[in-house]
């Protein structure tokens, strides 16, 4: 961590849980933008650089990015207690809300408009996930694999998953391992003196 220090810090694990609960409840269709606003701009618990660093780590590690960020942020301030507080703050109340929605839906799904609304929302949700993938495609220009090779990995993975229905471990074990090794080799070639 270099540069500025954050202006404030959470006073207690309880304050941490409340803050993460609050930002989760504002996040429809993605919590990350809200987290950036709340933690950096409104509360001043993180600088922008620190937020970026946490996000990068959260993306490398398996698990939901925002959950990983909450765990690391909580752990940094209050140890294991802080990590658990942040995780529960982020997930407990939203889980209850979504399950209540499902239960309500179960009761009213005989009604044509309700079933129709859900079908419409499902179609949009699918479109949103597809768009997320499309938005990330250009960032592969900076891939250590090279732009064309990275696109090749995308195409190959798509064929394996959608056409051949390979299980994920098989895809990661073949294309994933190959891609990481290729990146490792390219990064090594990059630093050699010319």
């Amino acid at each position: 961590m270099s540069g500025e220090r954050p202006a404030h810090r959470p006073r207690s694990a309880w304050a941490l849980a409340l803050a993460f609960n609050q930002l989760a409840l504002q996040g429809f269709g993605g919590v990350l933008p809200v987290a950036q606003h709340e933690l950096v701009e409104r509360r001043g618990w993180l600088t922008k650089a620190e937020f970026l660093e946490l996000l990068a780590l959260g993306q490398v590690l398996p698990g939901p990015n925002i959950v990983n960020m909450a765990l690391m942020f909580g752990h940094r301030h209050f140890g294991l207690r802080g990590a658990v507080a942040a995780l529960l703050g982020l997930t407990a109340v939203p889980t209850l809300i979504v399950l209540a929605l499902v239960a309500l839906y179960g009761r009213f799904n005989e009604l044509a408009p309700v079933a129709g609304a859900l079908r419409g929302m499902a179609a949009v949700a699918a479109g949103l996930v597809l768009a997320m993938g499309l938005k990330l495609l250009p960032s592969l220009r900076k891939s250590p694999l090279g732009w064309l090779a990275a696109l090749g990995v995308v195409a190959l993975s798509l064929v394996l998953i959608l056409v051949l229905h390979w299980p994920l471990p098989a895809v990661l074990g073949s294309v994933g391992v190959g891609s990481v090794l290729w990146a490792w080799w390219r990064l090594g070639a990059e630093v050699k003196p010319e």
């Binding site: 490398v60 399950l99 859900l118 179609a123």
Partner: protein, 181 residues
């Protein structure tokens, strides 16, 4: 959504173990493992229909909170509250333990060749998984022209413009309630 097939203890053990494995593979978010969950729960075991699978994700996205909550909804479909707790624990515990263990270690080695090769190498796979997830979730919509238009339209709008997803989800709900989908 209809009551799903009753699962025995062996099924539950298999499901939780599978989700724990997926937890460790969910680089780029839990949603990137959705195609594998779909393959496992819908294609291989038939515990839940493809339409119910897609609607679970739609319901989760229509509620506030992290996207990973769709896993709780899938668990709920299979076994109520206990099912939700089981699948959430399965998808969150292994990755959380790993995150806490590695956070300290990786903070010092973020710029190392190994970490960069790992992230850079897996980035295209993450993108492919997002695209596949979008495609698989739209499967129930493929047969219906209105739903297909909604899927393609929302993908295009969200891709090209910075509009809050909330508006698109609401538009989809209205279009569906009016019987257009």
């Amino acid at each position: 959504m209809s009551a799903a097939a009753a699962l025995g203890w062996g099924d539950w053990a298999q499901l939780i173990l599978h989700f724990m494995l997926l937890s460790l593979l969910s680089i780029g978010g839990a949603i990137t493992t959705a195609p594998e969950m779909h393959r496992f729960m819908v294609r291989e075991h038939g515990w839940i229909s493809g339409a119910d699978f897609s609607q679970s994700i739609a319901l989760a996205q229509s509620a506030p909170g992290p996207n990973v909550l769709f896993v709780a909804v899938l668990g709920w479909q299979l076994g109520g509250v206990m099912g939700a707790i089981a699948t959430m624990a399965g998808i969150l515990l292994p990755s959380s333990a790993l995150t806490l263990a590695l956070a300290h270690w990786s903070r010092r080695r973020r710029d190392s060749r190994g970490v960069r090769a790992f992230t850079g190498g897996l980035a295209p796979l993450t993108v492919a998984l997002l695209l596949s997830t979008g495609w698989l979730l739209a499967e129930p919509a493929h047969a219906h022209l209105g739903a297909l238009a909604l899927f393609a339209g929302s993908a295009l709008v969200s891709w090209r413009w910075r509009l809050s997803p909330l508006w698109l989800i609401a538009a989809g709900a209205v279009a569906g309630a009016l019987g257009l989908v």
